[in-house]
Amino acid sequence: MNRLVVGVDIGNSTTEACVASVSGGSVEYLGTALTHTTGVKGTPENTEGAVDAVRRALVGARRSPADLDVVLLNEATPVISGLAMETISETIITESTMIGHNPETPGGVGLGVGTTVSLDGLAGASPDEPVVVVVPGGWDFDDVAAELNAAAERGVPVVAAVLAHDDAVLVVNRLRTPIPVVDEVAAVAKVPLGMHAAVEVAPPGRTIRTLSDSYGLASVFGLDPEQTRQVSPVARALTGNRSAVVVRTPTGDVTDRRIPVGTLTLTGAGKTLQVDVDAGADEIMDTLDRVQPLDDATGEPGTHVGGMLAQVRDTMTDVTGQPAAEIRIRDVLAVDTFVPNEVRGGLAGEVALENAVALAAMVRTSRSRMQVVADEVAEALGCRAEIGGIEGEMAVRGALTTPGTDVPIAVLDLGGGSTDAALLDRDGVCTAVHVAGAGELVTKLIGSELALEDREVAESVKRHPLAKVESFFHIRHEDGTVQFFTEPLPPHVFARVVAMTPEGPAPIPTRASVDHVRRIRREAKRRVFVVNALRALRQVAPRGSLRMLDFVVLLGGSALDFEIPDLIADALAGHGVVCGTGNVHGNEGPRNAVAAGLVDAHADAVSG
Amino acid sequence: MRVSAPAPQSRPDLGPADYPLSVNRQDLLRTPTGKPLSALTMNAVVAGEIVADDLRIAPETLQLQAILAESVQRPQLAANFRRAAELTAVPDAEVLAMYNALRPRASSRDELLTIAENLESKYHAPVCGALVREAAEVYQRRDLLAREED
């Protein structure tokens, strides 16, 4: 007798349904459907999405809901992931010390050392002493050049200048004797006057050599070893710039300060360890390793990390009704990153990429409410509904339908909020694990490191290969190949780095090169997905050894990414593992593994 | 004035009192698929018995509206309805293509005449065909036909 069965997989972001006709132990697949998950996975709000997915799948299979025998749901436990990104270092320069910003077009070349004098006071400057002229806003470039030329004519040794507007090249072009000029210094009024100062500009395509070198600074300002040690952060901050200004003031003070972002307390394996978040990602992950399996993670109240973990806990409380005190953080992923921050004490709106740590945390609860969902689904559809199996086990079953796979098999489900692994060994025993951090963290890293204000743009960078629009009729893809067009490309992409979306090239608002953007994108994916793949697989692998795995099948939305599967496969290749993207039933791709697994398990149970 | 084409034969004699047809003369109205207006109910929609084509206007209905417009001395409006009745047979994309072809300097005289012929023979649309022919003539006189690429 044929019975109509639907497997439903409620995931973090999508709900998948798979309709099949089951007769004895044989299964005929009739169709699938995909909808958004309603509410947080594992909560009664899922009913709506589940019912919808079932209905759609039935419509696709041209079957009536009246013929439905049973709906099989996965045992889905709520997984909530939280993301936070906190700066852990900050360059603070007392406002009279340094201008480290990097204008696009400084003027002149070389190093000029002298005393700072305002252009308004240049008339009174004596010919005895070299001067660095500070030009406030409101001055026209023609007038500035005329004043500087006049002063030079009077015998005043004008050796450098600092300008408020973007005028450096213009002014230098009008000087009889060129000098190094740094421009676009917005807070030029804060430059202290009557102080010893140095201005350095490197030729186009080069970086400064003197002011970015501690001993260079020492030579320029005649510093003793103790003073040299003090200003070394200045040199470090100026490294890589094409131009810089350093003003030596008696009270000058530069600190490269670490901001306490809080301490993470990790409990597990009978131990409780603490690690400072500002110690960086490696330190955190090392500590985490020592307490695996993690029982809980907490942060001190009032610190950034404490706040973030509390929020994750609160969300879970809202969802499950379980008291916050009972909720455990079961995994943490820390990633080193950079966030663009305005330099405190900078005079030109300098933005520095400050060190930061991104944290993803994940909670699970034992209190699944899937039975409620099952009851509600049964009522809405007028048929039986039961919990057909545990997610991880079902995913493995589904993955096993990928042609060319066999037990023992491990699956990696690359999702939005978490990365999940499960292993089915030869004895039919299944182990599963969820680790924090997945696609959303990648988007966040890309957005932050490229200083993209729009999350959608970061998402687009993540999902699509890059190219540079070199003319209206051709683009150069990130792999170097050139593509020509017969119709001109739209003007808004001209000369831009673009993401090659299916709708066409989409401009990325950045000055960075294709290579730079690509590096950041791949690095973000590597630091999240590759790290998590290894981490999660180690947790399910026999004796924690990846060598004990034979087949790894990638599932989930991010398994459709154009490079993540390759990155993971490359990382696993050294361990002798066969890794590839799942192809459920040989035609579904990496989707629908759990739903199909549910149906298969059901068929086995019935026939067995 | 050359706006009013002769009304087709055997049309009901409509006047202002018949308007609105959807209220007063439902008996005369049919969808292009032959359904009466009363068939377009929510129940029918829910049952999936109504398709998008059921919500289009039939050429016969446009002719009725043309008669109504004439009855209130709006011959140009009536002429527009008669052209419209003819265009109901032309697919959407082709209607847009014809419109684009009528833009200034978009088509040669021959191209316009081909469109007119197509309208007349393929779609039995003599009134529209005449409009296109008229355009071809005026465009030639006013230098609005497609120019040789310079």
Binding site: G138, V169, L170, S471, P488, P509, R511 | -
Partner: protein
Amino acid sequence: MSAPAAVRTLTLKEIGPAQRASRPDEVVIAVSPAFAETFTRTIVDVPHAEVIRQVLAGIEEQGVTARMVKVWDTADLAAIAHTGARLSGSGISIGLLSRGTTMIHQRDLPRLSNLELFPQSPLLDAEVFRRIGSNAAQYAKGESPAPVPTRNDQMARPRWQAKAALLHLKEFECIVAGRRPVEVEPVISRA
């Protein structure tokens, strides 16, 4: 403390018929028939001398050279800018109408398209003209500058629409039909 404001005048010295150049590091500035002749200021009284000085400065600051042409046979901004782009060695041009309306164009684009358009002439001041020059030069270098932010003002219509129409008509009066574009040298002098 502020800089002395200088009054400057602009004259366009004719050099000869405008030619297509091959140096890739130039931007062509193409101006309308009445520019710096019948008219000396934009719709909001920015002197043409200042417009050109700022546009040239924006280009120079980027290390790019500029060439200027006068277009005589049209007052249509897209046509003027595209004419400039086709003469430009880099393919990049800036088109300017007397009232201030400005466009950055590129040779390979269709005439009616553009790289950046600044249609609201009443909102263009010296700073914007500087940035337009700077952006055009960056396009010429193959860089991708962030577009100059365009401002919008719903109340520009009641204040400026009619004056813009009047200036447009006056510009039309200055068209010399059939006259080819002329290369000009901008001479800016202090009054």
